[in-house]
């Protein structure tokens, strides 16, 4: 005899208990500390901070621990926490020209003032599994030396001096904030950049890659990629001046792209821009390519109908928290809607059968 | 800033605001219904109901227009302290407050655009009193007809013609609130 399914509440509690046990794993193995995650899985921490839109390595590390290493789940935890935080004020724009760089490379010039600094990169490592790492060894130490460089001018500034690259006009207007106002289209570049810097790394990478394969190709060169620490300043109205409130690590990428021009306008290179929390250079480069592709209208290019040129398509689908939530919601019961479809299909089949029968008679 | 501008806020903001919102929601969803509303006190001549509605709905993201009757230093200070909303000209207002006469002509407020009819002003009017006698109201939220004393008729009729654009009105008196959304059709009996 049928009895309706009951006990959802108990099932949920039991599932949560089981999850907690699985998260911890074998208790004979030492538990991970937040500090271990923060220090040794720093690039995962960086991604969670970037896509979670919250610069806090300890909280990001905690989220990674709680989410069992599922980074999208960790980003979700950070986002949900972030929305509960009060807004005390707004910082001044960070000045990346004053960055203390750990890494700074340009693909467009062999050498340049300030020099090329490879920094801690995977780039020229041979991707061979290092079995020595499996055994806990002693801590590697890198050589250091004092730098004699005090400023690292931007590559795009060199080009701009000669008018070879399009000038970005500074403005004092506050950029919109998609976490405070609903998205409206057309969005405009500041909102696009905010969307992309929070966007899913995989999504932004794939859209960027599609431009390289010819879907709105824009001939990008990495004009400059820099990673390092910048000071965050905030105006304190009561004091009447700005104070340092801390330091963050960011990755900035400026691409130099195909030129525009006409008979009347001299030819000029164009730019794409990426800026992301933490050491996140794949994301920053991808962001710059997608930013550049989305600027087609402003730069007088043709709409090739490519996904990367479609602002609404890119911005509406870049957020992995929105995407994963909606995707996974199809796990929820849908038997009411399904039932109405079932009734309809039965009705249509019945009508077709009747019509066939009539025709046969 | 005068000391009296610092008082008159909610005692328990989340709870007071939740009750006040339900009163406003009910009023807006059922034109003609008069709801009690309490929680805040603004400087004279602002009614307690108006002060409560403002604390419930206004904040730094909502530009406010002050009609002459309510454009006093005390009210400006009170808004600066409790709400933090910018005071703006009529054409930029998300909310407009005042007595009916000083708010007129209400055509000076934004009525939204055809793509975003929600980007229109909400006008909060302090009236002498509210009672369910007067103009006949018809439209969404009203089962057959309702009645409400209104400070005007023609202005509300003209507003309803603009639908889906138009203004939405919240009427306040003492510690009572009623509302007249743009969908309500007003007739004199």
């Amino acid at each position: 005899m049928y009895v309706a399914v009951k006990g959802g509440e108990r099932a949920i509690d039991n599932a949560h208990e089981w999850l907690a046990e699985e998260r911890r794993g074998d208790t004979d193995i030492a538990e991970l500390s937040i500090a271990q995650i923060r220090e040794q899985l720093a690039l995962a921490v960086n991604r969670v901070m970037a896509e979670g839109s919250l610069y806090d390595p300890d909280l990001a590390a905690l989220a990674i621990k709680q989410s069992r290493g599922d980074l999208i789940e960790a980003i979700f935890l950070i986002r949900a926490y972030r929305t509960t935080l009060p807004r005390i004020g707004h910082s001044k724009p960070i000045e990346t020209s004053d960055m203390a760089c750990d890494r700074r490379i340009s693909a467009t010039f062999k050498d340049l003032p300030g020099g090329q600094i490879l920094g801690p990169t995977f780039d020229y490592t041979h991707r061979l599994l290092d079995f020595k790492l499996a055994a806990e060894g002693k801590a590697p130490v890198a050589q250091t030396r004092e730098t004699d460089v005090d400023r690292m001018p931007r590559v795009t500034d060199f080009l701009n001096q000669d008018g070879l690259i399009q000038t970005e006009t500074p403005t004092d207007t506050s950029p919109p904030d998609l976490t405070r106002q609903p998205m409206q289209f057309p969005a405009g570049r500041p909102l696009r950049l905010q969307n992309l810097t929070r966007g899913d790394e995989g999504f932004v990478l794939s859209i960027a890659y599609s431009t390289q394969r010819g879907y709105a190709r824009n001939h990008p060169f990495v004009g400059e990629l820099r990673i390092g620490r910048v000071v965050v300043e905030m105006d304190i109205p009561a004091l009447g001046f700005a104070v340092d409130i801390g330091e963050i690590t960011v990755t900035e990428c400026e691409t130099v792209n195909q030129f525009t021009g006409s008979k009347t306008e001299p030819a000029q290179f164009t730019r794409g821009y990426g800026l992301v929390f933490g050491q996140t250079e794949r994301k920053a480069i991808s962001m710059a390519l997608v930013d550049r592709a989305l600027r087609w209208e402003e730069l007088g290019e043709d709409n090739m109908g490519a996904p990367a040129q479609d602002e609404e398509f890119v911005l509406a689908h870049s957020d992995n928290i929105q995407a994963t939530g909606f995707l996974e919601h199809i796990k929820l019961p849908h038997y009411v809607d399904f039932q109405s479809e079932l009734e309809l299909v039965r009705k249509l089949r019945r009508e077709t059968a009747d019509a066939t029968k009539e025709a046969a008679e | 800033m005068e000391l009296r501008s610092l008082s008159g806020g909610f005692e328990n903001a989340p709870i007071d605001a939740s009750r006040a919102f339900r009163a406003v929601l009910n009023a807006m969803a059922r034109p003609g219904v008069i709801e009690p509303i309490t929680g805040a006190q603004g400087p004279a001549p602002m009614s307690s109901a108006m002060a409560t509605v403002m604390l419930t709905l206004c904040d730094p993201e909502t530009p406010i227009y002050l009609a002459a009757s309510h454009d006093t230093p005390d009210i400006r200070d009170w808004i600066a302290f409790h709400i933090g909303a910018p005071i703006v000209t009529a054409d930029k207002a998300a909310f407009a407050i005042g007595t009916w006469d000083t708010l007129c002509p209400v055509t000076q407020f934004p009525i939204g655009t055809s793509e975003y009819p929600d980007q229109s002003a909400t006008v909060i009017v302090d009236v002498e009193h509210l009672d369910q006698h007067g103009a006949t109201l018809r439209g969404p939220g009203i089962k057959d007809t309702a009645q409400l004393n209104l400070p005007d008729v023609v202005a509300f009729q003209m507003n309803a013609v603009l639908f889906p654009l138009g203004l939405d009105f919240i009427l306040t008196a003492g510690d009572q609130v009623a509302a007249l959304p743009r969908t309500t059709k007003v007739e004199v009996v």
């Binding site: 959802g8 939530g325 849908h334 009411v336 | 709870i15 419930t56 709905l57 969404p140």
Partner: protein, 288 residues
């Protein structure tokens, strides 16, 4: 109660949502954009409804949550617990006792009263979205009241299937102006959209809130020669015998055996408590 603010959301967020709700009520059927917040449950799992409920609840409320008509489905339980914890409100499974009801995919069978609010969780608020994926385009269509595309779609259904092939999320026109998605309720529920309670719709991921005030005209789109038909399974409930309710089909064995039961579990239980019995009622003393 918890350390979080009453009903979880901060006051500024609630004010923003409350303003959107009021504009929604003032422009019935129009989707008001709002800056939806990340909630501690995933997008697509009722975050829009949860934000609307959070903005509406007062400490005096009695809250009910249903998913597919049932109070005991896992997501309904999860949302109910969330508000028990963050707002400390009383909860109930009885439609008649509730003042605020959050729902996914159903309207309760028991007619709602003037002192009640029904909050719908909405996945895709735009009724034209599956005909035109671009927000910039659909917004223009609503602005110009250009709903030809929807009628063409329904008409194509008829020429292909002999029937309008939409069985849930069936589009309606509100107060003669906006075409609106009533959320994925079965079309059986559409006639109930004209009711005494306030109906609020929240779409979190899509950042839209819309509303139907009480006693507002809501018409399901149709054609003169193909009038709207709110049909349902042609069976009585096998537990309570009701002939007028929306039914779930339950497979009871692997030989094609099935039974039909009310999807509104509270309504069905109420009828059984009143002595109504269906064909397969487990309550033995009532067996006829």
């Amino acid at each position: 109660m918890s350390d979080y603010n009453f009903a979880y959301l901060d006051e500024q967020t609630k004010r923003m949502i409350r303003r959107a709700i009021l504009k929604g009520v003032a422009i019935p059927g129009y989707q008001v954009p709002f800056a939806s917040r990340e909630m501690p449950m995933p997008y697509g799992w009722g975050t829009g409804g949860v934000q609307v409920s959070a903005a509406c609840l007062t400490p005096e409320d009695t809250f009910k949550v249903i998913d597919q008509g049932a109070d005991d489905t896992t997501n309904a339980v999860s949302i109910r617990k969330f508000f028990e914890f963050t707002a400390g409100v009383a909860v109930t499974e009885h439609t008649g006792e509730a003042t605020v009801i959050q729902t996914r995919h159903r309207i309760p069978e028991e007619p709602l009263r003037e002192d009640q609010i029904l909050v719908y969780q909405v996945p895709i608020p735009e009724p034209l979205r599956f005909l035109e994926p671009r927000e910039t385009e659909t917004r223009k269509m609503h602005a110009l009241e250009e709903y030809g595309l929807m009628h063409v779609k329904l008409y194509e259904d008829i020429s292909r299937h002999g029937n309008i092939a939409t069985s849930y999320a069936y589009p309606v026109k509100v107060e003669g102006r906006y075409v609106m998605d009533p959320s994925p309720i079965p079309k059986f529920d559409n006639p109930k959209l004209e009711m005494a309670a306030i109906q609020l719709f929240g779409a979190g991921r899509e950042q839209r809130i819309y509303a139907i005030p009480p006693y507002t005209q809501v018409i399901s789109l149709d054609f003169e020669d193909y009038p709207f038909d709110p049909s349902k399974a042609d069976h009585p409930c096998d537990l309570c015998g009701a002939e007028h309710t929306y039914l779930d089909e339950v497979i009871i064995d692997d030989a094609g055996g099935r039974m039909f039961v009310c999807s509104d579990t509270d309504y069905c239980a109420g009828r059984q408590a009143d002595g109504h019995r269906g064909r397969l009622s487990p309550i033995q003393e009532a067996a006829e």
